[in-house]
């Protein structure tokens, strides 16, 4: 609220010609704990025009939520000697673990391809940074394979009706994250676009972290692997023994 007032003050002073974007995210921290089945993230905010309190013009809003990037190897199965096995592979230096784009209209109607590529507006424009020289055709095949795979896993999405703009001032977009999201820092970028030009953009951060027991298990397994292994063995022997004892009494 205070930020809004400050911006309003700025607006009244008439500092800039471009509109001002005030973004907000429903949760700045997503806690992955027992029973986590994924969550919905609400990205909302307002666009204000310096010359008036409301934008007055038609703006298109595009929201991009991007998870931490990671280097990956993508393998492709082919049928060899009657069975499907991994044959070809390629490596990407910066594949986002999560990528969701929501816009108020189809991206193709909002901006041209060049602008879309610059701002990564859409799954076609992911900057995956392939490692090593591979020919463009093969690269397209692999990146569309990755996009298709992760789209079906719910990790990548593109929704051309995902942003609702009210009265040319308020906008909101709902993006759902599945339970298999990676932990780390997510960035939510909002772009205000008019006449094919990005006139304002703003970034917000969302932290996804494991907490409590889930965090403890993940850290324990990673750093105290000997103890962790012993614990799992002890639990399995103990449960087997206990069941034997309980049933012997029945």
């Amino acid at each position: 609220m205070r930020a809004l007032f400050a911006l309003l003050a700025l607006v009244l002073l008439g500092a800039a010609r471009d509109p001002i974007l005030v973004p907000e995210v429903s949760q700045h921290e997503i806690q992955v704990r027992q029973g986590f089945t994924g969550t919905d993230l609400l990205l909302f905010g307002a666009i204000l025009d310096p010359s008036g309190t409301r934008a007055g013009r038609d703006y298109d809003i595009v929201v991009v939520l991007k998870g931490p990037t990671e280097p990956i190897r993508l393998r492709e199965k082919q049928k060899i000697a009657g069975i499907w096995i991994n044959a070809d592979s390629t490596a990407f230096r910066s594949a986002p673990s999560f990528f969701a784009v929501a816009s108020s209209r189809p991206i193709g109607q909002i901006v041209d391809e060049r602008t879309a590529a610059i701002y990564e507006l859409g799954l076609n424009w992911l900057q995956l940074s392939p490692i090593g020289a591979i020919d463009p055709e093969e690269q397209t095949r692999f990146s569309s394979g990755l996009v298709d795979l992760r789209q079906r896993q719910g990790l990548y999405s593109e929704n051309s009706k995902g942003v609702v703009v009210n009265e040319q001032v308020l906008y909101q977009a709902r993006i759902s994250l599945p339970s298999s999201v990676q932990t780390g820092t997510y960035t939510a970028e909002t772009f205000a676009i008019t006449k094919g030009r990005v006139v304002a953009s703003a970034t917000a951060k969302v932290e996804v972290r494991k907490i409590g027991f889930e965090r403890f298990v993940a850290v324990f397994a990673q750093h105290e692997s000997l103890l962790y292994g012993l614990l799992v063995v002890a639990v399995s022997v103990g449960m087997g023994w206990l069941a034997g004892r309980l049933f012997a009494m029945v």
Binding site: V32, R33, Q34, G35, F36, T37, G38, E70, P71, I72, R73, L74, R75, E76, K77, K79, G82, I83, W84, I85, N86, S89, A91, A95, F142, G145, L146, D148, L149, R150, P178, S179, S180, Q182, K210, F213, E214, R215, V217, A218, A221, Q222, S225, L226, Y228, G229, L230, L231, V232, V233, V235, S236, V237, M239, G240, W241, L242, A243, G244, F247
Partner: protein, 304 residues
């Protein structure tokens, strides 16, 4: 009931996993096999990453075999000397298995190798078991008692140097034979997340020629220790053991194992073996189809 698996990084229906553990537990109680050969494929089918499935399934077999080992110890039908040699081989095998696992994972062929191993091993064992039990059932129907099988070990076993006396098994053979068998089963345990009972029992009967009354007890003894070693190996190398997944599986399997052993008394042993053979063959067939048909996912992602 949604349960989040902290190592597999996804949430599953806990009741489904417990039920899955119970099914394999009942099988293990009824047939004296660990049931790991069903758990790993079913977990992968359910959507658990293959590495986590193979790494976590072994602990379920540990739990299911504990009470069995106690029961057979009370009946004095475990050959500890033979079991000890096999466990030594088995621990060596889990080490080799872990190296193989990492190597195959780095070249991206671990899933294919696991699948092929399943098809070949389960297909062979299931086929042999089906034929043998079918003949046994027919022989009993015909009224004639099944001919007593001659107990003898394989000629290659007899040719190995350095002989030991294994009193309980009634054998005078080289310890190298059970050591090698143990090693082989250890490799499979780490790669496939199975206990290896379905290979161990026939190997002890037909290759070593052990006396039948100690075979199941000794095999459970070996499985108990080798699955423990495999869990340790996985938590040290792949770090893919999910304790929440393991506990859910254990909940089902330890109770299932008790129910299964009660049920087992109500059926004729050859009929039980025939049912098991059919289940084993069904899993092998399902896996074979998976290899031959175009999979739903052509692409797979591995961290670099």
């Amino acid at each position: 009931m949604d349960v989040y698996l902290p190592i597999a990084n996804l949430s599953v229906n806990g009741l489904v996993i417990v039920a899955l553990g119970a099914i394999t537990g009942i099988l293990s109680g009824m047939f004296g096999v660990g049931g790991g050969f069903l758990t790993t494929p079913l977990l992968i089918f359910y959507g658990i990453p293959p590495t986590v499935a193979a790494a976590s399934a072994a602990s379920q077999v540990t739990g299911a075999s504990v009470s069995g080992v106690f029961a057979y110890t009370r009946r004095n039908s475990v050959d500890y000397q033979m079991g000890g040699v096999m466990v030594a081989g088995g621990i060596l095998g889990t080490g080799i298995g872990a190296l193989l696992f990492n190597f195959l994972e780095s070249i991206g062929q671990i899933d294919t190798v696991i699948n092929i191993l399943y098809v070949v091993l389960l297909g062979t064992i299931g086929g042999l078991m089906a034929r043998e039990s079918y003949q046994a059932i027919r022989a009993t129907r015909g009224g004639a008692a099944p001919p007593p099988r001659k107990r003898r070990h394989h000629p290659i076993v007899a040719s190995l140097p350095l002989r030991w006396r294994f009193y309980r098994s009634g054998l005078y053979i080289s310890p190298l034979a059970p050591l090698l068998i143990g090693t082989g089963v250890g490799v499979l345990t780490t790669l496939m997340g199975v206990g290896g009972g379905f290979i161990l029992v026939p190997a002890m009967l037909y290759i070593l020629g052990m006396s039948a009354n100690v075979v199941v007890g000794t095999s459970l003894f070996q499985i108990l220790f080798v699955t423990m070693a495999s869990t340790m190996m996985h938590s040290l190398t792949t770090k893919a053991v999910d304790i929440v997944l393991a506990v859910l599986l254990l909940l089902g399997s330890v109770t299932g194992a008790q129910i299964g052993s009660k049920l087992a008394g109500k059926f004729q042993p050859q009929k039980l073996r025939f049912i098991l053979a059919v289940i084993v063959l069904a899993v092998a067939l399902r896996m074979a189809f998976g290899l031959g048909f175009r999979p739903s996912e052509i692409y797979s992602v591995a961290p670099l």
